[in-house]
Symmetry: C2
Amino acid sequence: MSATDLPAPDHEPEPSALDPAIAARLRRDPNGLVAAVVREHTTGDVLMLAWMDDEALHRTLTTRRATYWSRSRQEYWVKGATSGHHQYVRSVAVDCDGDALLVTVEQAGAACHTGTPTCFSTELPVSDPAEDS
Amino acid sequence: MSATDLPAPDHEPEPSALDPAIAARLRRDPNGLVAAVVREHTTGDVLMLAWMDDEALHRTLTTRRATYWSRSRQEYWVKGATSGHHQYVRSVAVDCDGDALLVTVEQAGAACHTGTPTCFSTELPVSDPAEDS
């Protein structure tokens, strides 16, 4: 069977060069993804939430350019590749149960595609804290 | 058909008193959930990632006690109810595409069930930044 006979992949986690010791720590969702919380190095601001599979994490760790899996476009996405709003990776941590990453970056320009510094720019109303007093 | 004829729900988003204007902003996953990034008010540290359905968000906004949906236990979970490590909610923001929340809290004690201050305590190795220079 030649390569052209292979069925088109339906985002199965593809073979990745991710360090097996790191891969073993991950607890992926049914689509092979973990959540990536992105934080700005200098300000500590939480910028956005995105998703990574093993290969996106491998690329992020080895290129120091934040790379995600786009669920809507079903493709890898190097942040800033089209916008110029690059994320230069300073550090990456995994959480206690392996289903979330914290990616600390130097953010060039606006993190959000709407042009705001972070994606979390709409505050929701929280009740009066009368019961706290 | 009487109420007792209704099939048992399989965590369908249950009727919630969440403000319909807020509910309309949310873009839930197939389980009716959005991701909640939790940040400490004083330090700005990212503490953990959890999940909310409409009712968990409603309870969080109206009681000011961070309340999540536990995917493993399939029940609501008021952070600190058993551990005493309460999260007193200062603010909640929704992101640009409605699938993530940023919950800013005053954290009592350790956020992580392992006893560490945050759940993101395992750093992953990032390549040498030679290419950045």
